[in-house]
Symmetry: C2
DNA sequence: GGCATAATTCAACACTTGTAGAGTTCAACG
DNA sequence: CGTTGAACTCTACAAGTGTTGAATTATGCC
């Protein structure tokens, strides 16, 4: 929203991105249903019809706004590579994820995805596939787990369980005991649990092979 | 919804409970915003105006429908008492909670609360206070943690973190690797993590006392 | 029987929602 | 200058929302 008024050339449209940014903010705060086109337009200082002009439908706007500005697997790989020794790996993962989630560029997207996934089937599919396809595999790989093994997906899923619970209680529910504590402290507390899921001696479910053999996308 | 048609005496109104039950189902499936009075009325086989006649406003209906049919602290205490030996206590807690959440009487209420809390501030307050006031203390007490100690609340909160993450991925997101596994298997995998939070040697946050001294209600 | 009373429905209001198309403004280009 | 074309706004529609008050139906009590 640098300059107002019509008359820009193609490619100059900062307004388009301003709308997307406003949309991210609204989706993050109210979820898919709660974020109205009118509120998004107001937040962007723009007529509601312009939102529709650029993005067509609300679903399309959501999909566009939730497109990540990073490639998760690359960021995860880069951020976690230094501690390849696997010692303190769990804490490092917690620290990395929390820092990422609370960073300026990603907070809105992640919160929007999380808030929307709980009530919108479209968003739920996005988040589920995103986790299954981009996160679980990367975590398993970076952690050095054997691929093509049912155990890897199960272990990574348990990590997701703990990490999403952390995000839910800290960012959404804001439980004081979780929200008022530093990332470092949470990493120290939760890290070992995550590490146990990845490398510990778990009693593995018998028929895990069926789950591991799902189509990747 | 035993008998249809008007003309019942006071106290006979099974329709009132039928509406509440339909409301629970809708709130569980769509969250607070997504559950419409009209849909609730339709699910109960009743005119929308009757919903308003009985409960006044949508908020009141939500509050009434989400009132638990049990006293959580009692159920938790009773269910967890047998394993007071603290051996396998974590697994027992996971098993108890998951079984409770997936039981007929509570599934809708819990899911509705969870789904709504993520998008409705009113519901978020309900769930947060419910967890903080009824759950954390009970878990800490049953686990034999010293009361009036900042550590107790922090430990219980970490447990909540893991348990809610489990609920989110299994019941709401339905991540295959978590949803397609038996409660027993999850208890065996997650139990030890929970146990570590309760009795393990955690690096405690320094200023935890401030959090522990919040007003209870 | 008639009467009070509760249960239930009808019809409608006032508002918000996503969406659509026609119209307006303005910079760039010839 | 006039034309073009994109950025942008106005107005509006059709559907859905919570909510309301009057009307209707049936029951138990006298």
């Amino acid at each position: 929203m640098t300059r107002r008024g019509p008359g820009r050339r193609a490619g100059d449209s900062g307004t388009r991105e301003a709308i997307a940014e406003a949309a991210r903010g609204q989706f993050a705060e109210h979820g898919y249903r709660g974020a109205t086109i009118r509120a998004i337009a107001a937040a962007a200082g723009v007529d509601p019809a312009l939102v529709h002009h650029y993005y067509g439908t609300k679903e399309a706007l959501f999909a566009a706004a939730m497109r990540l500005p990073i490639v998760p697997s690359e960021v995860l790989t880069a951020a976690l590579a230094p501690s390849a020794g696997l010692d303190g790996f769990g804490a490092h993962l917690v620290r990395t994820a929390l820092t990422l989630w609370e960073s300026d560029g990603l907070r809105e997207t992640f919160l929007g995805l999380l808030r929307s996934a709980v009530t919108s089937e479209q968003a739920a599919v996005m988040l589920r596939e995103f986790i299954a396809d981009s996160i679980l595999g990367t975590v398993a790989r970076v952690a050095g787990l054997p691929a093509a093994d049912g155990q890897a997906e199960y272990r990574a899923a348990m990590v997701a369980t703990q990490m999403l619970g952390l995000a839910l209680t800290r960012l959404v529910l804001r439980l004081p005991a979780v929200a008022d504590v530093s990332i470092e402290e949470l990493a120290a507390t939760v890290g070992p649990s995550v590490e146990r899921y990845l490398t510990g001696d778990l009693a593995m479910p018998a028929r895990q092979a069926r789950i591991a053999s799902r189509r990747p996308g």
